[in-house]
């Protein structure tokens, strides 16, 4: 039993280190999606709630588990959706410039095509 606990502690410490390394490299530009992403990911507690709501552990656990499933699923679905929505908005300028370029030769092409009988 205590061996499992030690291993879990190792996992926690290593994960915290990885977290530190990864997150210090996220630019301030993306701090808001970072918050919604980490929140969505922590919705993994859903897997615990699912087991609790599975009925094997009595009525109290099932009901509490049900509410927890609702909350965790809300976070997962909402969190990933909103993170995706936010990340989609971040574009560089060459996106705009490229679109303008594409419009211009297309117009020229149409004009030239129509002009040559």
């Amino acid at each position: 039993m205590s061996n499992t606990f030690i291993v879990q502690l190792y996992v926690f410490v290593l994960a915290a280190f990885v977290g530190y390394q990864v997150i210090t490299r996220v630019p301030p530009l993306l701090h808001t999606p970072l918050m919604s992403a980490t929140n969505a990911i922590s919705g993994i507690s859903l897997v615990g709630s699912i087991v609790a709501a599975g009925g094997k552990f009595g009525t109290v656990a099932t009901v509490l588990g049900f509410i927890a499933v609702v909350c965790a699923t809300t976070n997962v679905v909402g969190g990933f959706l909103i993170t995706d929505r936010m990340l989609r908005m971040f574009k560089r300028d060459d996106g705009r410039a490229k679109r303008d370029e594409e419009k211009a030769p297309a117009k020229a092409g149409v004009g030239a095509g129509a002009g040559t009988p």
């Binding site: 997150i23 999606p33 897997v47 509490l64 574009k91």
Partner: protein, 476 residues
């Protein structure tokens, strides 16, 4: 036991995808794809769990998943970017609630589960829950409960139905510390004697109270720190859940979430040059702050300017640096800002945006608003990157920002914001400030930038002023 291995393999895959997903957030170009992969990981983990042998009925589970999706979908798709801080606080509340409920269910199961009859009367027999697990459970519900109410308070303050002014009363800090000590004491007692349900549930009640009372004295503009901190606590509660139910993915995700939130709060505090304890316990931004320092405005005048004159200056400027602040968010004027910037660029000027780390009500607030308005992100600059460029800027356009451009932070040791890193808007060749009125900002002090000779004030709602500027610049 193939089922067990399958589930563990799926969890492992999910963990890897989550870490890679967060890593992809280091680059805006890779981020979207990376997070979609993380979502796949989540889906795998949930599906994998459904074959767990401890599940008897799927009815409640299916119902919960459906209801959760029904609530989560609109929250994800339809909440506008201007309500993002509130939404983030709200999701922290839900996440912490899930962790707390699992903890209560686990404790309830552990202490009532198989012990029957006379056995229940034997001392220590109800201690089905081992000490390490009890410690994890206790930690989980303690942090979970206080994050639930704390996040709700933050949500209320951001949404506006709870006052944004810090609410203080005498002996407040002492009482909060006493409550916290009581909760920790309860936790320690529970580790010693896991069977005392009274202490367990009592600790939760105390934790709920702590959440409310801790956030009550924190003012609106300090919310970036509070929101990040609650993010961290929700993660720690999730991690503790992982310890309690023996789920490694949870431990990992909780650690990542906790680290992220903690790092962000430290960053926010540093950017305000105030220590953690000052933010949490200092009741910053109340009337006391105004009384203690800062220059008075007696005898000083401001130059106000019309949209036509301001438009002339902007149209002929070679380089403009825009400083957005919370006022821009309140006026929901980010689209007009982008329109104006595009017009200036068409006339040959160069437009950059200077983003102060704590501008707004949450980390990255301004970035998200401007991205939503289709401002290309390579125009957005951090404070360190752009502070030296203010001297070469023809115009610094300050939109609804106040304390982040207040020179008193550099020059006046008696000012409450002294020492806070600020944007050097006062070093630009000229300054135009869009503001509703001469009312003071969050810190409750005067801003000498407004009284400077090269500063012109354009009074009015930011959206209206910007729309006028846009039409005027078009005519130039």
């Amino acid at each position: 036991m193939i089922r067990e291995y399958f589930i563990q393999a799926v969890y492992l895959a999910a963990s890897v995808l989550f870490i890679l997903g967060l890593k992809s957030l280091t680059s805006p170009d890779r981020a979207q794809r990376g997070m979609q992969q993380a979502a796949v990981g989540m889906l795998l983990a949930v599906v994998g769990t459904l074959v767990h042998q401890d599940i008897i009925t799927y009815g409640w589970i299916a119902g919960g998943l459906l209801l959760g999706t029904a609530i989560g979908y609109p929250l994800g798709m339809f909440v506008p970017m201007t309500a993002m801080p509130q939404r983030i606080a709200f999701s922290h509340m839900f996440g912490a609630l899930a962790a707390t409920l699992v903890g209560v269910a686990e404790y309830h199961h552990g202490s009532h589960g198989v012990v029957r009859g006379l056995l229940a009367l034997l001392p220590g027999a109800a201690a089905e829950i081992g000490r390490p697990k009890m410690a994890a459970l206790g930690f989980e519900v303690l942090f979970g409960a206080l994050t639930v109410t704390g996040s709700f308070m933050a949500f209320g303050k951001l949404q506006g139905f709870i006052t944004g002014r810090p609410v203080t009363y005498r002996g407040q800090n002492v009482m909060n510390l006493a409550l916290f000590a009581a909760a920790v004491g309860g936790l320690l007692y529970l580790v010693y004697d896991p069977s005392s349900a009274v202490v367990f549930y009592g600790m939760i009640v105390v934790a709920l109270a702590i959440g409310v009372l801790m956030v009550l004295p924190i003012g609106g503009a300090d919310m970036p720190v509070v929101v990040s901190l609650l993010n961290s606590y929700a993660g720690l509660a999730a991690s503790a859940t992982g310890f309690a139910i023996g789920n490694n993915v949870l431990i990992i995700c909780g650690a990542l979430d906790g680290a992220s939130g903690f790092l962000l709060s430290v960053l926010m505090s540093k950017a305000m040059n105030r220590s953690f304890t000052n933010v949490l316990f200092g009741a910053f931004g109340g009337e006391t702050a105004a009384a203690s320092g800062g220059k008075s405005a007696a005898g000083l005048t401001v130059q106000s300017v019309t949209p036509e004159d301001a438009a002339l200056r902007l149209a002929y400027a070679r380089s403009v640096i825009i400083v957005p602040g919370y006022g821009m968010a309140v006026a929901q004027s980010q689209h007009q800002v982008r329109e104006l910037a595009e017009l200036i660029e068409k006339k040959g000027g160069e437009v950059k945006y200077a983003i102060h780390p704590v501008a707004g009500r949450m980390p990255g607030h301004m970035n998200v608003l401007l991205a939503e308005a289709n401002v290309p992100y390579d125009r957005l600059y951090d404070m360190e990157e752009i502070n030296d460029q203010f001297e070469q800027a023809d115009v610094a356009l300050v939109i609804g920002a106040n304390d982040v451009v207040n020179p008193a932070a550099r020059t006046d040791p008696s000012s409450p914001i002294y020492g806070m890193p600020i944007l050097n808007a006062d070093r630009a060749r000229s300054v135009i400030v869009l503001k509703r009125s001469m009312a003071s900002g969050f810190a409750g002090i005067e801003n000498e930038l407004f009284y400077d000779g090269k500063t012109s004030m354009l009074f009015g709602d930011a959206k209206k002023s910007l729309t006028q500027l846009v039409s005027e610049v078009k005519n130039v």
